[in-house]
């Protein structure tokens, strides 16, 4: 992966809205923070944007939609996104947004566990788990590990690739997890 942009949400919140607030709430705040992120990304050629929730206390659904939902809709095909430092309440706010828009994203919680959030079939979730746990793999290898037919495994991996949560290189599929 060529270049990476690391975006501290609390820092962007402080610069775009107020240094006093510790929570990502309201659409207006979400809009301002997303514009701040877009400015940061527009200045570089990063292929991967890592959005750090580690210092964010609370995020509501409206803010999650304005930041994560719209960012993925607008830039999800231009670069990869990885969310890091999430706690369960952040996931609760983000997951319905992704479901509603038919999106998916890789998320790493505060213990370092990687998972995929969003609108994905079960076979794709299981395939992602294999790649995240065991590293890059061919479709036949994923099929064997999950006891799926090769066609189903390949379809699951292609779904993940189209959602930009895995990358494919010379037939091997790799979970987006490095930062």
């Amino acid at each position: 992966m060529r270049a990476m942009a690391w975006i501290d949400l609390k820092d962007v919140l402080g610069r775009t809205v107020s240094g006093v607030y510790g929570d990502l709430v309201t659409r207006r705040t979400g809009h301002a923070v997303r514009c701040g992120i877009e400015q940061l990304l527009d200045g570089g050629e990063s292929e991967l944007a890592v959005i750090d929730f580690g210092t964010v206390r609370l995020m509501d659904h409206s803010c999650a939609d304005e930041i994560i939902g719209k960012l993925l809709l607008q830039q999800g095909q231009v670069r990869y996104f990885l969310l890091t430092g999430l706690d369960p309440s952040h996931e609760e706010a983000i997951a319905p947004v992704l479901e509603r828009h038919g999106l998916a994203v890789v998320a790493r919680d505060r213990a370092g566990r990687v998972k995929v959030l969003g609108a994905l079939p079960e076979s794709a979730r299981r395939a992602f788990r294999v790649l995240a746990d065991d590293g890059p793999a061919l479709p036949d290898e994923v099929a064997a590990k999950l006891a799926l037919s090769p066609a189903v495994a390949r379809a699951a991996l292609e779904t993940l690739r189209e959602c930009r949560v895995v990358r494919e290189q010379e037939g091997h599929y790799q979970a987006l997890r490095n930062a």
């Binding site: 107020s18 607030y21 510790g22 929570d23 709430v25 309201t26 659409r27 207006r28 705040t29 206390r57 609370l58 995020m59 509501d60 659904h61 409206s62 939609d65 304005e66 939902g69 719209k70 706690d87 369960p88 309440s89 609760e92 706010a93 319905p96 947004v97 509603r100 828009h101």
Partner: protein
């Protein structure tokens, strides 16, 4: 001529329709909100009373009168809950208004607070997360994750005012013990505004779809069950759905009253009806969330 609007002695969501009927009835004249016999008011009653005063003021009516509870303890409680401070801006108060002490009731997690813009929502959520998280965990047995969800639900409820009411509103949060109704402690969020309400907010985009059925109840159904919003943005309409999910998980209650209808997500411990229609009209939207103590 002065028209008297009696404030129920026990003023909460259950007696609110009685209050709304008195408020809606009659023509013209200066209004006198008579709370002298009030013995108790929930946060829902207090923010609703402020919305009534706000509705009169914003409609260009003569500044309404308000008699505070005769019972000294009740009047002081209304002051400590933050009601009196804001009522002074909307009503001509009869009777001596008690002053609130520097530190309010410990069970008042958030005094009656005006909500007009996004900054107010930040303040409200920040206040709750700073002050109330420990209380919610200790007294209601809510997990840490649930207190975060509480803040999210509170935020979305307040944003409903900012995004849709077309005017300001009020929010209050309190814990208390429901001995007769539930037999355990609850935390209550009450949000009220005197704005346009769900029907007018959604009319331009939804009325044709519902045809003859269109009204306050249909508008609540569209917003709360179908998740529609007046905005064309497909990401809109998730806030109320998020509130529903949160309250479902913790066996909580959600009731939304707008105009002449009330939609309720009824938990197993409650005997309310899912949809009440043809209620006495009351301006704007009133939202009630109740989370009971867990594990009792």
């Amino acid at each position: 001529m002065t028209r008297v609007v009696e404030v129920p002695a026990q003023f909460d969501d259950r007696s609110f329709d009685q209050f709304a009927r008195a408020f809606a009835g009659g023509d013209g004249g200066r209004l006198l909100f008579d709370a002298h016999a009030a013995q108790w008011a929930s946060p829902f009653g207090l923010v609703g009373l402020l919305s009534a005063g706000q509705a009169v003021t914003e409609a260009g009516g003569e500044r309404p009168l308000l008699t505070l509870p005769q019972d000294r303890d009740v009047a002081h409680y209304w002051a400590r809950a933050g009601f009196v401070q804001h009522a002074e801006g909307l009503f001509e108060i009869h009777g001596r208004a008690p002053r609130a002490p520097a530190h309010g009731e410990s069970d008042v997690l958030l005094e009656v607070t005006p909500v007009k813009g996004a900054d107010d929502v930040h303040e409200v959520v920040g206040h709750i997360q700073d002050r109330a998280a420990a209380i919610l965990t200790r007294e209601l047995g809510l997990e840490a994750a649930a207190t975060m969800g509480f803040g999210m639900a509170l935020s979305e409820a307040c944003q409903n005012i900012v995004e849709h009411a077309g005017t300001g509103g009020w929010v209050a949060v309190q814990t208390y013990t429901w001995r007769r109704r539930l037999g355990r402690r609850v935390v209550v969020i009450a949000v009220s505004d005197a704005g346009v309400g769900f029907r007018r907010s959604l009319e331009a985009t939804q009325a044709r779809r519902f045809g003859d059925r269109w009204g306050d109840a249909a508008a609540l159904e569209a917003a709360l069950i179908q998740g529609v919003s007046r905005f064309r943005d497909p990401g809109r309409g998730q806030g109320l759905a998020g509130i529903r999910r949160y309250l479902s998980r913790w066996a909580g209650k959600l009731a939304v009253r707008s105009g002449t209808a009330r939609w309720t997500m009824v938990p197993p411990w409650d005997d309310d009806v899912p949809l009440a229609n043809q209620l006495p009209f009351f301006p704007g939207t009133q939202l009630l969330m109740i989370v009971p103590a867990q594990g009792e």
